[in-house]
């Protein structure tokens, strides 16, 4: 049985896991929490550097308790991008060191695709339209002819960053999303905010600024509610269009912002009205996690992918549609296989 160790550290979450084809064997996570404000890339990278060896040590111990020795590991997977440059470089260094010292092949993976594949692994979704929403990323993707194609995406910042930016201006602590969701529950009314869908793309930076301005004349509850309603409706609309366009019948939600219950409810209603199935993985697989990196590393390794050290450089702007998806059979277009 193939067993892979994967390390994630593209932003604030340092997480490493060992997985095999059946399940996650072990996972250890050490999250960077900024004392004030948002994530400073250098400070997050320093955090990762400080804890990397401890996380790996703990992970290997935990693996051993579940019957997996270092010698059983077939490949070391790591996030090659997209993400914050200093964080990516730190984690890539750790992965290379492990690979060289243990003489185990390296597999560099795309962080966005790891979110998708762990969702396909841990839910019944097989060929979904994916709404991937996190701090830095907001994209609508689907598999078509050898690649995960981006059907729509943010033209500026990710939805999570838009929430965080607003939250900082409103005096809320990082991360903003969960606090905004709480305030939204006690709102009285909707305040009109800019709804920006251009073709298949959406934009959040103007919306975030407008929400901040709205605080002058409205309660924080009403603004949080209106912000969520507007931003989520934009993304659900594009997800629905991608469904109509591709003829697919499943939607998979991925990324940390996918924890939001209102977003889930809206997607659920949209899917219900279209006769599509809606899938959300367990919460531990939604935000950044080591298991998803290890799992994508596993299926890429099994389909013959190995990353040589001299090709293991990181790419902060690594796009999901740059990756040739060789682990899905070419003839399975519109009916993906597992």
């Amino acid at each position: 049985m193939t067993t892979v160790l994967g390390i994630e550290g593209t932003a604030w979450n340092l997480s490493a896991a060992i997985v095999n084809e059946k399940d996650v064997v072990a996972e250890v996570t050490e999250t960077y929490r900024p004392p004030t404000g948002g994530i400073h890339p250098r400070e997050a990278a320093q955090h990762h550097a400080k804890y990397a060896s401890q996380v790996i040590r703990d992970l290997l111990n935990e693996g051993k308790q579940h019957g997996v020795d270092v010698g059983d590991i077939d490949a070391i997977a790591f996030s090659q991008g997209p993400g914050l440059g200093p964080c990516l470089r730190t984690v890539a260094t750790a992965a290379r060191m492990l690979s060289l010292s243990l003489n185990i092949p390296l597999v560099g993976v795309n962080h966005c695709i790891a979110h998708i594949e762990v969702g396909r692994w841990k839910t019944p979704a097989s060929d979904p339209v994916v709404l991937y929403v996190s701090g830095a990323n907001s994209q609508v993707l689907a598999y078509r002819m050898g690649k995960y194609r981006v059907f729509g995406e943010t033209l500026d910042i990710g939805i999570g960053n838009a929430f965080d930016k607003f939250a900082r201006n409103a005096g809320l602590s990082h991360p903003g999303g969960p606090k905004i969701e709480e305030y939204a529950k006690n709102a009285d009314k909707y305040i009109p905010l800019p709804y920006v869908v251009k073709g298949m793309d959406f934009s959040f930076s103007g919306l975030s600024t407008a929400a901040t301005d709205a605080l002058k004349n409205a309660s924080i509850e009403d603004v949080c509610y209106s912000f969520q309603e507007t931003a989520f409706a934009m993304m659900v609309e594009v997800t629905e269009r991608a469904l109509a366009h591709t003829g697919k019948s499943e939607v998979l939600l991925a990324g940390g912002v996918g924890a939001n219950m209102r977003l889930r409810e809206m997607l659920d209603i949209m899917c219900d009205d279209r006769g599509a199935s809606f899938y959300v993985p367990e919460k531990r697989f939604m935000g950044d996690n080591g298991a998803m990196i290890a799992y994508l590393g596993l299926i890429m390794f099994e389909s013959g992918t190995v990353t040589d050290i001299d090709r293991s450089h990181v790419n902060p702007n690594f796009r999901p549609d740059d990756v040739e998806v060789i682990w899905i059979a070419e003839d399975s277009d519109n009916e993906g296989t597992k």
């Binding site: 194609r149 981006v150 709804y195 469904l243 109509a244 409810e265 209603i269 949209m270």
Partner: protein
């Protein structure tokens, strides 16, 4: 008679008049939903009239009511059923005039181009918007070329003919055609 239902609207034909209604979305807050449908309906009607003013045949608008547009029914053949290089060149001229007028169609497929009375009509301005940016024009043309490729064997000849017509009516045509090639390489799907 019910004609089609897209992700956004349903289209009926009554007494020779097309009735396009943007359907409510239950996932959206009612207030927000009504505002968006009304705004888009108005924008669509405005851009269709504007397109006609710059020399692009479009259906005549009879009435707008909330999120419903009543417009002329264009009989004739969708261009995808009758496509030839000669027609593609004329489509190029029409799209060139549209882009010269600062309008992007937003869903330029061979199903949305109709040959009627020996005139080339553009229909369905549901995703149209105002822009003079090369990228937007490039995406518009790219979408059209994709439908050429997916439904016509001799798509290379069609593309060549389109560019000829497009260059005749639009002075920035060369920049846009160059951009279309870049967009194709990106693999971005939209």
């Amino acid at each position: 008679m019910h004609l089609t239902s897209g992700a956004e609207a349903t289209i009926h034909l009554e007494d020779g008049v097309i009735i396009k209604e943007r359907v409510p979305k239950r996932y959206r807050l009612v207030e927000l939903d009504e505002r968006i449908r009304k705004e888009r309906t108005r924008a669509e009607a405005r851009l269709m009239s504007e397109a006609r003013r710059v020399g692009v045949p479009t259906p005549i608008i009879y009435d707008i009511n909330g999120s419903t547009i009543e417009m002329e029914y264009i009989t004739g053949e969708p261009i995808k059923n009758v496509m030839t290089p000669q027609l593609s060149e004329r489509v190029g001229e029409v799209v060139g005039r549209l882009h010269s007028g600062g309008i992007i169609h937003g869903d330029l497929t061979t199903s949305n181009i109709i040959l009627h009375d020996d005139k080339i009509y553009l229909i369905d301005f549901g995703l149209a918007f105002v822009s003079r940016i090369v990228e937007s024009q490039g995406v518009d043309v790219h979408v059209l070329f994709q439908t050429f490729e997916s439904t016509h064997k001799d798509h290379e000849k069609l593309i060549e003919a389109f560019c000829k017509g497009y260059s005749r009516t639009f002075e920035n045509a060369d920049d846009v055609i160059k951009r279309v090639k870049e967009i194709e390489k990106r693999g971005r799907y939209a």
